[in-house]
Amino acid sequence: MTGKEPGADSLLSRISQKLRAGGKVYGILGLLIMICVYTAASTDRFLLSGNIENLVHRTALFGILSIGAAFVIITGGIDLSIGSVVCLVGVLLPFLLTKHDWTVPAAVGAILMISLVIGLVHGLLVTKLRLQPFVVTLCGLLFYRGLARGITNDQSQGFGSGFQELRLIAKGRIPILGDAEGAFQLPATTLVLIVLAIVAAVFLNKTIYGRYLLALGNNPEAARYSGINTDRMVLLAYAICSMLAGVGGMLFVLDINAAQPSDFGNFYELYAIAAAVLGGCSLRGGEGSIIGVVIGSAVMVVLSNTINLVHPNYQNVEFAIIGAVILSGAVVDELVRRWLSARRAGMKVG
């Protein structure tokens, strides 16, 4: 290498690193801000504290699922069973509490246990039997929903008017800005998300295990040759994902108060994965940022809110709009990337 190269190279590497996660995060943040500005400009109801509360609340619920999805995606895998786990958990909680009079700790404990086991099974099938994550979790998608329908015999499960205290976890509002009329109150779920997100971000970026995940997502062989127990790490990722799906599922049903086995959580895995991808995770593995993922889910939540508030008559094309936005996000991201490297080349020549 020549003397001059290093400087340039480090620029290259720094930019490319930024582009890796950082850049994408800025990108998605920009998108979110744009949508918010547009909506706020179109209707004065958007910024009502009540609406903001709804938005951060919904973002929390989806964000929790998306963070889980992100961990699996970072290992280069995928989890299609998230929605079905949400469904299974969503019907089980009321089912156990109301139909079988379990105590709250027992029910919650059992459900977390089940989610954990589900995650471990996925992980074991992927690592020990070397099955493809897509296949394993696709079977999960079919299996857990079928299970939920079987257990409940196709009947919705709900809390009726009971378990109000428990439901506060999902419905509670914390008056952080005093309880003046119309003052913003922090939804409990948002608090949960903040805590989980911080823990997840620290875990991913500050602990050796996070480093291991990124390394093996990037090159499993090299990670294994470096003495990393890749199997255990992958197992961990799937466990985290299903656990978070379990937590999310419980919060969902506590919030909604009932779950229909046949469609509770349908397609949620796709939202979660989309949010993770929007947030800068590469499905090739080895890349991802927690904050980006959370913003990603916020984008989708706000988008549908925008449609409901500003264009209620376009509700039936909501999906089309969301799809179009995600795609354009990805396209713009790619184009910016190219433009930047073109610029770099230009700078170098000139």
Binding site: N54, D154, Q155, S156, S161, A258, S262, S304, N305
Partner: protein, 321 residues
Amino acid sequence: GCGSKNAGGTPEAQGASLAFVSNGVADFWTIAGQGAMKAGEELGVKVTVVMPNGMTDQTRKMEDLLTRGIDGIAISPINSINQIDILNKAAAESILITHDSDAPESDRVMYIGMDNYIAGLMCGELVRKALPEGGEVMILIGRADQDNSSRRRQGCIDAILGREPDSSRNDPLGDPMTSEDGKFTVLGTLTDQFDRAKGKANAEDALTRHPNIAAFVGLFTYNPPLAMEALRGAGKLGEVKVIAFDEDEISLQGIIDGTVTGTVVQDPYAYGYESICVLNELYKKNNSVIPENKFIDIPARVIDSSNVEEFWADLKKKTGR
């Protein structure tokens, strides 16, 4: 038209903004939506028709309607006993009435529509009429886990089996049930999750499994036509009776052709139309529209060969299809 047009001025100017919320996406609801829109035009009020996907979405859409500061909401709750919170929230911040499926436990002002259990009973009666000698009956339905469908199904079964009406029953989907007199057997209920290929397959497989099946009951709008397709394929159309629900044009044509015994129709158009009219009156503080039993009955009707033509003509006129 109902009620009175808003006094003077361009309607849109001071018209209320009202919402009509369904419990899912289906033709039934697009017809209801048309009724709502029509009323909206006549009364000069802004009407938003909302067709959510499932309970979570219905709750979200309700929240956002309230954020919009909607003046009145007519909703068909998917799972009323478990939606009290959002319903009462809506009742508190706006004017809430229910249609199609009631939520008596909530603070809703009133209910427009009919009782799905009773409609189910009527459907069951049609079956008994179609099969004087009795026989094996298979029930086809989209989903069994939402209020309207489970009540409708239960009513149908109770009538077929000639039981004392009791809407609190909830028979399992699978096992066959035979009436006291042993004449009628309900073979079971097949769900298809709205996947029509699956629905058709269910009907076909039922025919394969039960060679001497006597009748199909299709409890969701699209089920009877699928049953007819299956029968046509097996060359048993007309031989095996089809009892329909709702007013799919194929079902109606079937009644004319004699391949369908009859159908129980609700009046979705009226649901939509009436709901908006009532909401508009309530918005104008005219509470006289509230009957003391808080229930405007838009009874289900039995449509058979005797009255199908005029019904269909009327339907076409209303929906312009």
